[in-house]
Assembly symmetry: D2
Homo-oligomer: 437 residues x 4
């Protein structure tokens, strides 16, 4: 539950400078407008759906260029850092950040190398100075021109670095862990009374940022997963009792698996972390799969990497350098379970396993994501220029908003099995709305 | 301005049958739910933006499966018709309509051939009976398996046809003209007291349906246009003073031109119907283009087909068979104007003209559109089953709603030059927020 | 070494029927011609290269439509079977076989299901009768509309099946094992004095058919592998000391690995079965990789699945159902060796492993392969109609030829490290022409 | 007819320097080899085909690295120029030229800007110095990083420029006109006794270079044309009596039209410059088209831009700046003829016209072309280093050869309607082998 006070955005101080952008303050003159300070976007937009509705109305600050800004652009040095795994659109975000900063008249833009490592002098990775020319064509390539890495660095060390390098605003592009790190930077600056803006741009191919409708990279990832599902479907159909099993990203949420299932319409079973299932026994996936095979002789199964962790023996072994829980390999488990089950049943099947992971995340952004990246980046610059800090920019109901980092990182956006997306999955797969467990 | 009463949906009668769908009516049981009758989606979701806000609050009916339905599915015959120009996703919509009708238990589904022509017996195009197997793979192909054509047919003739063929519900997939036709069918049925549902699914690659955030095919079209823009940019850069001019769809609205401009980031001038401009003289496009050429030696211009109609001599010659105003060719006009201007200025330029039209609209849907098509189609079936008529289904704020056809066809959704999208165009092109005229 | 007598083609008898095809026998009338019986293609086409040249001149029969044919097309029943793993272009071949048979006037064309299994009545897979309409759109999809399976069936059983089903000619599309099976069918028919033609169309994504320049599917596979290499390169460049390792098909020959390396120009090490290498020690791959990493901080390694089998401990465990030797997993071995080595050296590296296999082979054919498939299929029909048997059709020096099955399956076409392709690999990777072992 | 003496290659003098490349001269040591001086590739490789065979045997010099070279690489300055229209693979050729020159140890590589214009000081386009780093990623983009232009420059002026800039070898990438220009440079150098090598790399998307099997860009162009044909087919099938007309490149030869026809298998009429046809009257295309429409209700027509020039009234108006004859617009003519014909016949048809031109040629090279570009470029460097001049490198029978420029530009490689490709077109379209005229 979000409370109205959860959405309040930190500010560095009162904005005194006149924005150099040539926007209008008058509606009706056919010239785009500055966003008023008081503009808000409503969080709950439906009525009478039967879901709990006794909460107070919640609004988020609308993102956009402000007429008065906190910084004098001519004096500003900005830093940009990309962290964590690759995601389609990183270079688009970098490019639009640089172009929008330049549009404000910012002269010094530093690209931090290799994630938060580049903000720790001990790691010996001096930043590179970015120009519009340098970023002109980067959006045609996947990956990030700045490099990336996993794992946090000490906020005190980072803030020392920002001060020593005269950086007034830092844009942190990354997932959950990165945004926590961005919050720590903002908090440390606040503690020291430093007028440094720390603004996040959420990057998660898993599409699981709280309060945000869609994160960049997700739409592109679906295209790539659909390609793989087409291959899995072809392999399954052309083999004797063929079964294609595809593992996709999705540590805690199954958005990629669910979205690709509905987009491709070729999946028969979609298994995600939010929806419990069992393999064996009555009502288990294997029994359902046998029925499918009897009827149609081929099947496609998609499984998110975080699904069914409770089904596998052994302890999960700790966390990786980003602080993510190490997962047991559900893709291999499902594949082996299927082979084992049909072996016991003495039914010939041909199981083909697909683990495309990196192939999905290292491609350039498609148009849907490119549009999102451009708006996120430009609004992040507007936010920082206005003196907003400890927040990220995101899209909600096709609008752009500011979300306080403590709220955005408080929990993850999961698939609610009662929501439309999961009903769509049920409709296109034919699997039950809820598995027996 | 939309008034609350504008959003009221026509109903054929009181729904007495229990839906055969196995959805839940309880929140919290992890099973997807029927949509309550009273569920609504709020139209205005922002506050304090400075735009006129003195209007009454407007809500749209939320689309979705109802617990009680008007028809007994076992008795239902349904018709599906696709009209007008091709658009990516038509086959996806047909496929999901068939599958959702089958999920209700509908046995007889008729595919109407060649648009509204197939609803006129004089045209001698008997419908084909559709099965799930027949539509299983159609979404891999562009176009429509049913064929399409332009132009209306007499509503009385159509309703006679529906009655003679025992059709209880008709799904009309098409643009503005098609939806007016769908309204005429609903009105004629109402006049005769016939319990026939006429439900529209809006199809416009131009993305200009009123009240609706995004129509299917648009996201795919952007990908194709971006490919062409890449070619135009390559041609322009590799020639001596190269200028690429690309004409795209957009009769009354510039959504494709504007969206592709921001997605590609390679366009220098975007010209759309909503934003007046002049070619010649001070502040004209040609003068701005000369400045661009002096600085960078190459340029890309995108122009929507409906832009700048006031600049060309002669009368527009009537309307086409869909009732659309015939347009003068702005692509050729802009190209010739550029050649002429630089000729007069004695500056060598190499102008390459691209007119990709059909190439953009006949491809299969990308994932973003595939997801939209599936939800639109399934919600259209839910609407018809519940006895809704004279309405279309659409997406608004990432939710699905019913829109009365009279409202949906009252006006077109145009680009407001004061909205974010046009500001993004300005930022990525460098062209003025508003041209001098 | 090929001897002149190795290229002699078996014939069922003297061709007495006049071909119904409307080709010409006159050169210069601007109408395509029947191929004369005596037309031949020269095998060795270079002189003075220094390679052994003391052999006799070798010629292959030129494929093509003959003026006189062995069968009366009206009486012919033809069978088509696809065996082994998927390969881009299978449906193209099926489609062109059906269309060319129909062009001759053949009325009964049987599609054999699931590979050679479908020729064994015990497997209970009755053939399906194919028409031109049924195959009209199959080339847009990957896979094979007939299904496929691995493994041989008894030739006597197959020939019984052919006789019982009245099949006069059988087209066997498959790899090495399939072509041996095809030869066994031809031999068994010959033994029994049956006028049944058995003609092969070689299918190997590995491109390793002896005497043949390029087999279908190879050109398409390269496109898919290049996509994966781009991802591997992006992942490697964006990580701290990133190394991408990509395993590709190539059991005994490295054509895919070598071709994709040169086409992408992004690979630093290409490891193939034909070229020995060691991982450890001076001159080993790991030492060379360390040098690369010191200089450029990222690297891409491609490895064919059959490479370096001698480096891994343990015995290879038998053969699969196609009779192929089971391979130890060189991809995992190389990846682990790299991690282990840099761990010992205390150098941080980020190794990303890619195993795309099925993704590469289940896509539709690109144009280069589509052209090849069409010519192979039509020439196979011409060969069978002329009464040729126990042979396959293939492309050599951009011409189409008949190759006796005993010759074609005698050995595999391997990459000669002294040939141009391997020199190109050396040039684009910078790896030595020959590894130290 | 080619005579043996036509294939003799000009040389600048006797090669005295030892090549720095680490190739072998021994066969059997598993190390790639230098190409012996006397290595030759046979031109005619078939026997007994019935075509005229009374000519003398013709051999071409085999391309490749020579053990002894003419230049001392350390002293060499090389120039690279790209001319004429864009073609997929230009950047691949530039990149491999630079890399191979660097492999020889050449220190100074000049990129000439904007075609032959950049070799005329009056045009004021100083060359840019190319490094390996500068070209590292250019092959991911279409076009040419050097720019291009049409039209010749005076050979004397060019040679003055080469001398003044100390350029020892010039690589001319371009079509027919460019290769004539390259010959003029070689001839002028020879006249002046200058030891400057002029080596061509043939670039023609039309695939019509004499003596050469396939030129780069052609395979990629087919993919793009097939995409357009798919769209044309979809548009035709989905409209009432739909007819798609696609115009493609092919001024004097129909290789693109013919190749794309066979690759797509969706074309019903293919019209090319080499095969006369008439539109009107008995046996004319329009009558054949009517029959097709009666049977199948839709059709696709592909027409090469140089086809049917005799059918259109009026004089062709001169030549363009490349010296190519200006063509009358056969695409518009065919489209209008079809509309007119069916109008007269009072049959409703919907004709959609596609003119994709630039879209086809400005994309990056596919793998098939990338492999070709790499080999052409590296062999061109080997040729120049060995002191060869007045020649181009090309592929014949999958081998690389030197062709004297006077021979290569003597005539164009046209489609012989008696060859296999045109028979394939007939088979896949159903059109006659020869049109009535």
């Amino acid at each position: 539950m979000i409370k109205p006070e959860d959405t309040r955005i930190e500010e560095l101080g009162s904005p005194k400078h006149v924005s150099p952008l040539e926007l209008s303050t008058v509606y009706g003159d056919s010239i785009g407008n500055f966003t008023p300070l008081e503009a808000r976007i409503r969080y709950d937009i439906d009525l009478g759906t039967g879901a709990a509705e006794d909460c107070e109305e919640v609004f988020f600050e609308k993102a956009g260029a402000r007429e008065k800004i906190f910084y004098n652009p001519a004096d500003v040095s900005a830093g940009i850092v990309t962290c964590g795994g690759l995601c389609p659109g990183l270079n688009n975000v970098i490019r639009s950040l640089v172009n929008q900063l330049a549009a404000y008249g910012v002269k010094r833009i530093l690209g931090i190398r290799d994630g938060y490592k580049g903000l720790n002098p001990a790691m010996n990775r001096p930043p590179i100075e970015l120009t519009r020319d340098m970023v002109d064509h980067i959006h045609f390539a996947g990956g990030t021109m700045l490099g990336s890495s996993r794992g946090p660095q000490d906020a005190a060390v980072i803030v020392d670095f920002l001060v020593e390098n005269g950086i007034d605003m830092i844009f942190c592009i990354g997932g959950d862990g990165t945004q926590r790190g961005c919050h720590n930077i903002a908090a440390e600056c606040s503690r020291r009374g430093l007028p440094i803006a720390a603004v996040g741009i959420p990057k998660t191919i898993d599409n699981d940022i709280f309060c945000i409708a869609r994160s960049f990279g997700y739409a592109t990832a679906l295209e790539e997963v659909r390609r793989v599902l087409d291959c899995a479907h072809t392999e399954a159909k052309c083999a004797v009792n063929g079964i294609g099993v595809v593992k996709v990203m999705g540590r805690e949420s199954g958005h990629i698996a669910a979205g690709a299932t509905v987009a491709s319409q070729e999946v028969n079973f979609a298994l995600i972390p939010e929806v419990p299932f069992k393999m064996e026994g009555s009502g288990g996936v294997l029994e359902l799969l046998r029925k499918r095979m009897e009827k149609r002789n081929h099947a496609v199964v998609i499984v998110a990497e975080g699904a069914g962790q409770d089904l596998m023996e052994g302890h999960s072994d700790g966390v990786d350098s980003s602080g993510n829980k190490r997962l047991k390999d559900i893709g291999v488990f499902v594949t082996d379970s299927i082979k084992d089950f049909f072996g016991r049943e003495e039914i010939e099947v041909n199981v083909k396993y697909f683990d495309p992971s990196y192939i999905i995340r290292s491609v350039p952004a498609n148009c849907t994501d490119a549009l999102l990246c451009d708006s996120l980046a430009r609004n992040a610059v507007h936010a920082a220029m206005a003196g907003k800090t400890d927040c990220l920019v995101g899209m909600l109901h096709d609008q752009y908003i500011h979300v306080p980092l403590p709220l955005a990182t408080r929990e993850r956006k999961l698939i609610d099995p009662e929501d439309d997306l999961w009903v769509r999955v049920h409709e296109s797969t034919g699997q039950p709305l809820k598995f027996q467990v």
